[in-house]
Protein backbone atom coordinates (compact mmCIF):
# COMPACT_ATOMS: atom_id res chain seq x y z
CA UNK A 1 0.00 0.00 0.00
CA UNK A 2 2.74 2.37 1.07
CA UNK A 3 4.91 1.33 -1.85
CA UNK A 4 2.07 1.93 -4.24
CA UNK A 5 1.47 5.37 -2.85
CA UNK A 6 5.13 6.29 -3.19
CA UNK A 7 5.17 4.92 -6.70
CA UNK A 8 2.15 6.91 -7.77
CA UNK A 9 3.53 10.00 -6.08
CA UNK A 10 6.74 9.53 -7.98
CA UNK A 11 4.86 9.08 -11.21
CA UNK A 12 2.86 12.22 -10.51
CA UNK A 13 6.02 14.15 -9.77
CA UNK A 14 7.73 12.91 -12.90
CA UNK A 15 4.77 13.67 -15.11
CA UNK A 16 4.30 17.14 -13.67
CA UNK A 17 7.98 17.83 -14.16
CA UNK A 18 7.77 16.51 -17.71
CA UNK A 19 4.65 18.56 -18.32
CA UNK A 20 6.55 21.77 -17.89
CA UNK A 21 9.71 20.66 -19.60
CA UNK A 22 10.20 21.66 -23.18
CA UNK A 23 13.64 20.47 -24.21
CA UNK A 24 15.93 22.00 -26.77
CA UNK A 25 18.92 20.13 -28.11
CA UNK A 26 21.75 20.89 -30.52
CA UNK A 27 21.15 24.59 -30.82
CA UNK A 28 23.53 26.52 -33.08
CA UNK A 29 23.83 29.87 -34.75
CA UNK A 30 25.53 30.46 -38.06
CA UNK A 31 28.56 32.74 -37.87
CA UNK A 32 28.56 36.02 -39.77
CA UNK A 33 31.17 38.17 -41.46
CA UNK A 34 31.64 41.82 -40.45
CA UNK A 35 28.74 44.01 -41.56
CA UNK A 36 26.51 41.04 -42.20
CA UNK A 37 23.41 42.13 -40.35
CA UNK A 38 21.48 38.91 -39.94
CA UNK A 39 21.85 35.19 -39.42
CA UNK A 40 19.90 32.08 -38.51
CA UNK A 41 19.60 29.96 -35.38
CA UNK A 42 18.79 26.27 -35.56
CA UNK A 43 17.88 23.60 -32.99
CA UNK A 44 15.70 20.64 -32.11
CA UNK A 45 12.71 21.25 -29.86
CA UNK A 46 10.62 18.65 -28.10
CA UNK A 47 7.53 19.46 -26.11
CA UNK A 48 6.00 16.69 -23.95
CA UNK A 49 2.53 18.12 -24.58
CA UNK A 50 1.01 19.74 -27.62
CA UNK A 51 2.37 23.25 -27.83
CA UNK A 52 3.50 25.91 -30.15
CA UNK A 53 6.72 27.84 -30.48
CA UNK A 54 5.33 31.36 -30.65
CA UNK A 55 8.28 33.62 -30.10
CA UNK A 56 12.04 33.75 -29.88
CA UNK A 57 14.10 36.45 -28.19
CA UNK A 58 17.77 37.25 -28.08
CA UNK A 59 19.87 40.14 -26.81
CA UNK A 60 22.18 39.59 -29.80
CA UNK A 61 19.78 41.12 -32.32
CA UNK A 62 17.33 43.98 -32.41
CA UNK A 63 14.70 41.86 -34.11
CA UNK A 64 14.11 38.13 -33.77
CA UNK A 65 11.60 36.34 -35.96
CA UNK A 66 10.64 32.77 -36.68
CA UNK A 67 10.96 32.06 -40.38
CA UNK A 68 10.14 29.24 -42.69
CA UNK A 69 11.99 28.49 -45.89
CA UNK A 70 9.88 26.99 -48.60
CA UNK A 71 10.73 25.96 -52.13
CA UNK A 72 8.29 26.75 -54.87
CA UNK A 73 9.71 24.99 -57.89
CA UNK A 74 13.32 26.14 -57.95
CA UNK A 75 12.56 29.37 -56.11
CA UNK A 76 13.52 29.75 -52.46
CA UNK A 77 11.10 31.77 -50.38
CA UNK A 78 11.45 32.86 -46.80
CA UNK A 79 8.53 33.97 -44.70
CA UNK A 80 7.98 35.00 -41.12
CA UNK A 81 5.55 32.57 -39.45
CA UNK A 82 3.28 33.12 -36.44
CA UNK A 83 4.48 29.94 -34.81
CA UNK A 84 5.67 26.39 -35.18
CA UNK A 85 3.49 23.55 -33.95
CA UNK A 86 5.14 21.26 -31.43
CA UNK A 87 3.13 18.02 -31.31
CA UNK A 88 3.44 16.14 -28.01
CA UNK A 89 6.64 14.14 -27.77
CA UNK A 90 7.68 14.85 -31.35
CA UNK A 91 11.08 16.41 -31.97
CA UNK A 92 10.67 19.36 -34.29
CA UNK A 93 13.78 20.45 -36.09
CA UNK A 94 14.61 24.03 -36.90
CA UNK A 95 17.15 23.38 -39.60
CA UNK A 96 18.42 24.70 -42.91
CA UNK A 97 15.77 23.96 -45.48
CA UNK A 98 12.89 24.45 -43.04
CA UNK A 99 12.19 26.59 -39.99
CA UNK A 100 14.78 28.79 -38.39
CA UNK A 101 15.03 31.65 -35.94
CA UNK A 102 16.08 34.74 -37.83
CA UNK A 103 18.32 37.15 -35.94
CA UNK A 104 17.92 40.49 -37.70
CA UNK A 105 19.94 43.64 -37.20
CA UNK A 106 22.67 42.00 -35.15
CA UNK A 107 24.33 44.10 -32.50
CA UNK A 108 27.73 42.68 -33.37
CA UNK A 109 29.41 40.16 -35.62
CA UNK A 110 28.66 36.60 -34.51
CA UNK A 111 31.93 34.66 -34.33
CA UNK A 112 32.84 31.02 -33.97
CA UNK A 113 33.56 30.39 -30.30
CA UNK A 114 30.81 32.78 -29.17
CA UNK A 115 27.54 31.59 -27.71
CA UNK A 116 24.30 33.39 -28.44
CA UNK A 117 21.69 33.55 -25.67
CA UNK A 118 18.21 32.69 -26.90
CA UNK A 119 14.83 32.52 -25.23
CA UNK A 120 12.29 30.29 -26.89
CA UNK A 121 8.70 30.96 -25.90
CA UNK A 122 6.41 27.96 -26.08
CA UNK A 123 2.67 28.28 -25.62
CA UNK A 124 0.56 25.38 -24.39
CA UNK A 125 -3.00 24.68 -25.46
CA UNK A 126 -4.16 26.40 -22.28
CA UNK A 127 -2.47 29.57 -23.44
CA UNK A 128 0.21 29.35 -20.75
CA UNK A 129 3.64 30.38 -21.90
CA UNK A 130 6.90 28.80 -20.95
CA UNK A 131 10.32 30.31 -21.58
CA UNK A 132 13.18 28.03 -22.50
CA UNK A 133 16.54 29.73 -22.03
CA UNK A 134 19.51 28.44 -23.94
CA UNK A 135 22.96 29.37 -25.15
CA UNK A 136 23.56 28.41 -28.75
CA UNK A 137 27.15 27.88 -29.84
CA UNK A 138 28.23 29.57 -33.07
CA UNK A 139 29.20 27.32 -35.94
CA UNK A 140 31.21 28.45 -38.96
CA UNK A 141 29.43 30.13 -41.83
CA UNK A 142 30.40 27.22 -44.04
CA UNK A 143 28.96 24.70 -41.61
CA UNK A 144 27.43 22.44 -44.25
CA UNK A 145 23.96 22.68 -42.80
CA UNK A 146 25.34 20.82 -39.82
CA UNK A 147 26.80 18.20 -42.15
CA UNK A 148 24.45 15.58 -40.77
CA UNK A 149 21.33 17.55 -41.56
CA UNK A 150 22.58 17.89 -45.11
CA UNK A 151 22.41 14.14 -45.48
CA UNK A 152 19.04 13.90 -43.81
CA UNK A 153 17.66 16.15 -46.51
CA UNK A 154 18.16 13.44 -49.13
Amino acid sequence: MKVRLVASLCAALISSAAFAQVTVSEPWVRATVPQQKSTGAFMQITSPVDGKLVEAKSPAAKVVEIHEMVMEGDIMKMRAVKGVDLPAGKTVELKPGGYHVMLIDLNAQVKVGDTVPLTMVVEGKDGKRENVELNAPVRPLNNAAGGMQMHKMH
Binding site: R30, I75, M76, G97, H100, N143, M150, M153
Partner: protein
Amino acid sequence: MPFAVLRLRSLVLRALLVLFAALSLGACNDDELRFNNTDITGANFGHDFSLLDPEGNTRTLADFRGKVVMMFFGFTQCPDICPTALSRAVEVRRLLGVDAERLQVIFVSVDPERDRPEVLKAYTAAFDPAFLGLHASLEDTRKVADAFRVFYRKVPTGASYSMDHTATSYVFDPQGSLRLAVAYQSPAESVAADVRTLLQSASPLP
Protein backbone atom coordinates in the same frame (compact mmCIF):
# COMPACT_ATOMS: atom_id res chain seq x y z
CA MET B 1 2.20 -4.15 -112.13
CA PRO B 2 5.94 -3.57 -112.12
CA PHE B 3 5.52 0.16 -111.52
CA ALA B 4 3.63 -0.39 -108.28
CA VAL B 5 6.26 -2.89 -107.10
CA LEU B 6 8.96 -0.35 -107.88
CA ARG B 7 7.11 2.32 -105.90
CA LEU B 8 6.67 -0.05 -103.00
CA ARG B 9 10.36 -0.92 -103.13
CA SER B 10 11.38 2.70 -103.06
CA LEU B 11 9.02 3.30 -100.15
CA VAL B 12 10.55 0.44 -98.21
CA LEU B 13 13.99 1.72 -99.05
CA ARG B 14 13.08 5.19 -97.85
CA ALA B 15 11.60 3.80 -94.66
CA LEU B 16 14.78 1.84 -94.08
CA LEU B 17 16.86 4.93 -94.68
CA VAL B 18 14.82 6.91 -92.16
CA LEU B 19 15.15 4.06 -89.67
CA PHE B 20 18.91 3.90 -90.24
CA ALA B 21 19.24 7.65 -89.80
CA ALA B 22 17.24 7.49 -86.59
CA LEU B 23 19.38 4.65 -85.27
CA SER B 24 22.64 6.40 -86.05
CA LEU B 25 21.33 9.57 -84.43
CA GLY B 26 20.48 7.50 -81.38
CA ALA B 27 23.99 6.12 -81.38
CA CYS B 28 25.28 9.67 -81.60
CA ASN B 29 23.26 10.60 -78.55
CA ASP B 30 24.76 7.68 -76.69
CA ASP B 31 28.19 9.09 -77.36
CA GLU B 32 27.22 12.36 -75.75
CA LEU B 33 28.15 13.12 -72.19
CA ARG B 34 25.90 11.92 -69.46
CA PHE B 35 25.32 14.09 -66.42
CA ASN B 36 23.74 13.64 -63.02
CA ASN B 37 22.37 17.17 -63.12
CA THR B 38 20.09 18.73 -65.72
CA ASP B 39 21.83 19.02 -69.08
CA ILE B 40 20.90 22.38 -70.60
CA THR B 41 23.54 22.33 -73.33
CA GLY B 42 22.50 24.63 -76.16
CA ALA B 43 20.22 26.73 -73.95
CA ASN B 44 19.27 29.98 -75.65
CA PHE B 45 19.89 31.98 -72.47
CA GLY B 46 22.74 32.68 -70.09
CA HIS B 47 25.39 33.31 -72.71
CA ASP B 48 27.49 35.73 -70.70
CA PHE B 49 27.50 38.28 -67.90
CA SER B 50 29.26 41.50 -67.11
CA LEU B 51 29.54 42.09 -63.36
CA LEU B 52 31.88 43.75 -60.90
CA ASP B 53 34.19 41.91 -58.53
CA PRO B 54 34.74 43.31 -55.01
CA GLU B 55 37.73 45.31 -56.28
CA GLY B 56 35.54 46.99 -58.87
CA ASN B 57 36.91 45.18 -61.94
CA THR B 58 34.49 44.13 -64.65
CA ARG B 59 34.35 40.36 -65.00
CA THR B 60 32.87 38.32 -67.83
CA LEU B 61 32.82 34.61 -68.62
CA ALA B 62 35.86 35.01 -70.89
CA ASP B 63 37.97 35.64 -67.75
CA PHE B 64 37.46 32.02 -66.73
CA ARG B 65 38.25 30.13 -69.94
CA GLY B 66 39.82 26.78 -69.20
CA LYS B 67 37.89 26.47 -65.96
CA VAL B 68 34.48 25.07 -65.21
CA VAL B 69 32.41 27.88 -63.72
CA MET B 70 29.67 27.23 -61.19
CA MET B 71 27.45 30.25 -60.63
CA PHE B 72 24.86 30.81 -57.92
CA PHE B 73 22.60 33.82 -57.35
CA GLY B 74 21.94 34.74 -53.74
CA PHE B 75 22.40 37.30 -50.98
CA THR B 76 24.60 37.42 -47.92
CA GLN B 77 21.79 38.01 -45.39
CA CYS B 78 20.34 34.66 -46.44
CA PRO B 79 20.54 32.29 -43.47
CA ASP B 80 19.73 29.12 -45.23
CA ILE B 81 19.87 28.22 -48.90
CA CYS B 82 22.88 30.38 -49.82
CA PRO B 83 25.21 28.99 -47.13
CA THR B 84 23.97 25.51 -48.06
CA ALA B 85 24.73 26.02 -51.76
CA LEU B 86 28.13 27.57 -51.04
CA SER B 87 29.01 24.87 -48.51
CA ARG B 88 28.17 22.31 -51.17
CA ALA B 89 30.54 24.13 -53.52
CA VAL B 90 33.25 23.86 -50.84
CA GLU B 91 32.60 20.13 -50.68
CA VAL B 92 32.64 19.83 -54.49
CA ARG B 93 36.07 21.46 -54.57
CA ARG B 94 37.30 19.12 -51.85
CA LEU B 95 36.05 16.12 -53.82
CA LEU B 96 37.79 17.37 -56.97
CA GLY B 97 41.17 17.23 -55.21
CA VAL B 98 43.91 18.57 -57.46
CA ASP B 99 41.32 19.60 -60.06
CA ALA B 100 39.74 22.02 -57.55
CA GLU B 101 41.66 24.92 -59.05
CA ARG B 102 39.93 24.24 -62.36
CA LEU B 103 36.54 25.05 -60.83
CA GLN B 104 35.64 28.71 -60.36
CA VAL B 105 32.76 29.28 -57.98
CA ILE B 106 30.89 32.55 -58.51
CA PHE B 107 28.30 34.03 -56.14
CA VAL B 108 26.17 36.75 -57.75
CA SER B 109 24.35 39.06 -55.37
CA VAL B 110 20.66 39.69 -55.98
CA ASP B 111 20.71 42.18 -53.09
CA PRO B 112 23.25 44.80 -54.18
CA GLU B 113 21.80 47.37 -51.76
CA ARG B 114 23.00 45.41 -48.72
CA ASP B 115 25.76 43.33 -50.29
CA ARG B 116 28.42 45.98 -50.44
CA PRO B 117 31.69 44.79 -52.06
CA GLU B 118 33.47 44.37 -48.72
CA VAL B 119 30.60 42.29 -47.28
CA LEU B 120 30.47 40.19 -50.42
CA LYS B 121 34.19 39.57 -50.33
CA ALA B 122 34.25 38.62 -46.65
CA TYR B 123 31.21 36.41 -47.14
CA THR B 124 32.54 34.33 -50.05
CA ALA B 125 35.99 34.15 -48.44
CA ALA B 126 34.45 32.72 -45.28
CA PHE B 127 33.53 29.69 -47.41
CA ASP B 128 36.60 29.56 -49.61
CA PRO B 129 39.02 32.38 -50.49
CA ALA B 130 38.95 31.12 -54.11
CA PHE B 131 35.23 31.89 -54.43
CA LEU B 132 34.33 35.08 -56.21
CA GLY B 133 31.46 37.36 -55.23
CA LEU B 134 30.13 39.49 -58.08
CA HIS B 135 27.69 42.37 -57.99
CA ALA B 136 26.25 45.16 -60.10
CA SER B 137 23.92 48.12 -59.87
CA LEU B 138 20.28 47.38 -59.18
CA GLU B 139 19.47 47.81 -62.84
CA ASP B 140 22.33 45.67 -64.14
CA THR B 141 21.61 42.99 -61.53
CA ARG B 142 18.12 42.69 -62.95
CA LYS B 143 19.50 42.46 -66.49
CA VAL B 144 21.94 39.68 -65.63
CA ALA B 145 19.32 37.75 -63.66
CA ASP B 146 16.90 38.04 -66.58
CA ALA B 147 19.59 36.86 -68.98
CA PHE B 148 19.98 33.76 -66.81
CA ARG B 149 16.27 33.33 -66.19
CA VAL B 150 16.88 33.85 -62.52
CA PHE B 151 13.95 35.12 -60.52
CA TYR B 152 14.38 37.31 -57.47
CA ARG B 153 12.14 39.58 -55.49
CA LYS B 154 12.42 41.69 -52.39
CA VAL B 155 9.95 40.55 -49.74
CA PRO B 156 9.27 42.48 -46.52
CA THR B 157 9.54 40.20 -43.47
CA GLY B 158 8.51 42.02 -40.34
CA ALA B 159 11.27 44.49 -39.57
CA SER B 160 13.47 43.86 -42.56
CA TYR B 161 13.30 42.28 -45.97
CA SER B 162 14.31 38.98 -47.47
CA MET B 163 14.91 37.96 -51.05
CA ASP B 164 12.98 35.22 -52.78
CA HIS B 165 15.27 33.87 -55.45
CA THR B 166 16.02 31.01 -57.78
CA ALA B 167 18.08 28.42 -55.93
CA THR B 168 19.52 26.74 -59.01
CA SER B 169 23.28 26.84 -59.68
CA TYR B 170 24.53 27.03 -63.26
CA VAL B 171 27.60 25.25 -64.57
CA PHE B 172 29.62 26.37 -67.59
CA ASP B 173 32.18 24.24 -69.40
CA PRO B 174 35.81 25.38 -69.80
CA GLN B 175 34.88 26.93 -73.18
CA GLY B 176 32.34 29.17 -71.47
CA SER B 177 29.16 27.45 -72.66
CA LEU B 178 26.27 26.96 -70.28
CA ARG B 179 25.91 23.20 -69.71
CA LEU B 180 24.13 22.31 -66.48
CA ALA B 181 21.42 23.46 -64.12
CA VAL B 182 22.06 22.14 -60.63
CA ALA B 183 19.12 21.91 -58.25
CA TYR B 184 19.73 23.16 -54.71
CA GLN B 185 19.27 19.68 -53.23
CA SER B 186 21.65 17.94 -55.63
CA PRO B 187 24.40 16.28 -53.56
CA ALA B 188 28.02 17.43 -53.77
CA GLU B 189 29.13 14.02 -55.09
CA SER B 190 26.87 14.27 -58.14
CA VAL B 191 27.98 17.84 -58.85
CA ALA B 192 31.67 16.92 -58.51
CA ALA B 193 31.22 13.99 -60.92
CA ASP B 194 29.64 16.30 -63.51
CA VAL B 195 32.38 18.90 -63.12
CA ARG B 196 34.93 16.15 -63.66
CA THR B 197 33.10 15.00 -66.80
CA LEU B 198 33.20 18.56 -68.17
CA LEU B 199 36.89 18.96 -67.33
CA GLN B 200 37.78 15.66 -68.99
CA SER B 201 35.73 16.35 -72.12
CA ALA B 202 37.25 19.78 -72.58
CA SER B 203 39.68 19.96 -75.46
CA PRO B 204 43.07 21.26 -74.36
CA LEU B 205 43.44 25.00 -74.61
CA PRO B 206 45.31 26.29 -77.67
